[in-house]
Amino acid sequence: MSFETQQKELRDLCAALLRDGAVESVIGFGERSDSCCVCPPIAAKREKDAGKLAWNSRCVPNLAPYLPLRGKTAIVAKPCDARAVVNLIVERQIPRESVRIIGMDCAGMTGADGNPLRACAECGERRAPVADDIIANEISSRRELEDTRGEYSAKRFKDEMKKCILCFSCRQACYGCYCQTCFADRVLPNWQPAEPGFGAKMTYHLGRAMHLAGRCVECGACENACASGVDVRYIIRGVTEFIEKEYGFRAGIDIEASPVMQSCSMDDRNVGFWGGDERE
């Protein structure tokens, strides 16, 4: 099995779905226009458009932010895309019945240089946890997962922030950043100082990390979008790990779950509180 067979299966399935009217459109990846580009997302609306759908190692973008489209929509979903869609359903952003998840077994995507993307090299997910269809692929050689967690220090954070130019691409690429007006764009109150200095970058990145707490699906869209090469994901990743350990929650795995930060329990521990971590 390979990308080619998966691509053929995908095109056949989508052609059938569009022909039968099971869905009004399919969000998938189109052919890339240049070898350095990623595959651009497209919406196939007619049966013949299904032939334009591509599946290869450069299907990098997360497609979940392109939802919702008018009518029932099928979405070509890598495991991370599927988790994002599930979390959007959990957060009541899209109704379950409006979307058909076509889960693509995925061994990880690559960058323009052919090397695995950083997020993909750290990802062990090979199949969408929730899907309506599965386009299977025997992924035999399970890669050793890389641990790029690194140390957590003020120096590292400042070095990363130095590279940031506050273009907010990471926010735009993120499936979870669907606020109508981002706090960083607000004028009253104005959280972001006008100077693109450390204070502004810290406010943005920590604020965004808080908003993504328990919602990040580790798709790496933020760092793939970053032209400046900022490791924007490491702080959110640390939070995601903490939430999994402390509250046993991973975003986008369970379609019946309630969002972790919108829940609470008398049994929660006072982690990091004054006077210790004891339970009240």
């Binding site: 189109g30 580009c37 497209i42 323009a112 506050l166 006008a194 100077e195 869209a221 400046s228």
Partner: protein, 328 residues
């Protein structure tokens, strides 16, 4: 090409050392996984064929520039910027700076901040050896090896560089170093590139171009992140922001992006370009039509940055080509 016009990498470093006594030197440097323009000693500069992900426009038109400060009954304008040397600017970026100069300094108003920086800067251009992935400067009539919008132009020639001076300052700088004292003048040399193949007719009817292709489909992948406008050598839209601290208000001029929904948001709440495809259409037509109508230049230099870095794999060249073909 006479022998005296060729300098070695060591001589080039020597020249930069001499020039660095009077001004700070910026140029392409390695920043982690990316290449960016940065302040560096001559040894730290990348002199190979690597291209920075950002354009050099920030040295003339910084991302956030403090224009003035006021408060407590006083107001002061920012002092003039210090002299700068920018090394390793590619021909496409040099043409981009030429377009920015046209926009900021010609016409009814001349921007004093941009002008002071332009006067204070010394540019050393560096020709490309090969076309990078995503680049399409050839389609826009730009010679990837040469541009005269600089003080000194270098063209890589194996291990050494062919060098020419293109301004009085450039000649004086080269004369200060024995190894480069005799190089010839490149003024008047024509760039060798085919005429632009990708352009829109400047008399084209805007309303018609709105309908020649399906903009909604063309802009479908766009997330509106605006990274294309940040790294573009010719994008120049800005907004003003005031920031108060301890009773002093600082007024900043900051980059803005036509890809942001708030870019055209009126105080009334009305937004003339509320849909993403309208904003994308604006970006393409601004580059290929509106600036051309105003200044005669196509405001795209084919540097390929937006193509390489678009997180959604969009390609402005393909879109512009399809508009051009459809409008014929």
């Amino acid at each position: 090409m006479s022998r005296s016009d060729s300098i070695s990498r060591d001589d080039l470093t020597r020249l930069l050392d001499v020039l660095g006594r009077d001004m700070r030197i910026a140029g392409p440097v390695k920043e982690g996984r990316t290449v960016d323009y940065g302040i560096s000693s001559p040894d730290g500069l990348l002199m190979d064929d690597s291209v920075s992900y950002k354009s050099p426009k920030e040295f003339y038109f910084p991302q956030a520039e403090r224009l003035m400060a006021f408060g407590g009954g006083t107001a002061e304008e920012e002092p003039a910027s210090e002299p700068f040397l920018i090394f390793g600017v590619r021909p496409c970026d040099l043409e981009g700076l030429r377009i920015l100069r046209e926009i900021f300094l010609s016409g009814g108003y001349s921007d004093p901040f941009f002008r002071r920086r332009m006067e204070n800067n010394f540019i050393i251009g560096l020709g490309c050896v090969e076309r990078k992935e995503g680049c399409f400067c050839d389609k826009l009539g730009i010679d990837m090896r040469f541009s005269d919008f600089c003080d000194i132009m270098l063209e890589p020639d194996g291990e050494s560089y062919h060098v020419e001076h293109l301004s009085g300052r450039g000649r004086a700088a080269l004369a200060a170093v024995p190894q480069t004292a005799g190089v010839s003048c490149g003024v008047g040399r024509a760039a060798t590139a085919p005429p632009p193949a990708l352009y829109l007719d400047e008399n084209a009817d805007e309303q018609r171009l709105f309908g020649v292709i399906d903009w909604e489909e063309a802009a479908f992948p766009c997330r509106g992140c605006g990274i294309c406008t940040f790294i573009c050598p010719t994008c120049h839209c800005f907004e003003f922001k005031d920031s108060g601290r301890d009773g002093v208000i600082s007024r900043y001029r900051c980059w803005d992006s036509c890809m942001y929904p708030r870019f055209t948001l009126h105080a009334s709440g009305h937004n003339p370009r509320s849909a993403r495809h309208e904003r994308y259409r604006q970006r393409v037509l601004h580059k290929y039509l509106y600036v051309r109508k105003n200044t005669g230049y196509t405001a795209c230099v084919g540097c390929g940055r937006c193509v390489r870095h678009c997180p959604a794999g969009m390609n402005i060249k393909d879109v512009a080509e399809s508009v051009m073909e459809a409008s014929r």
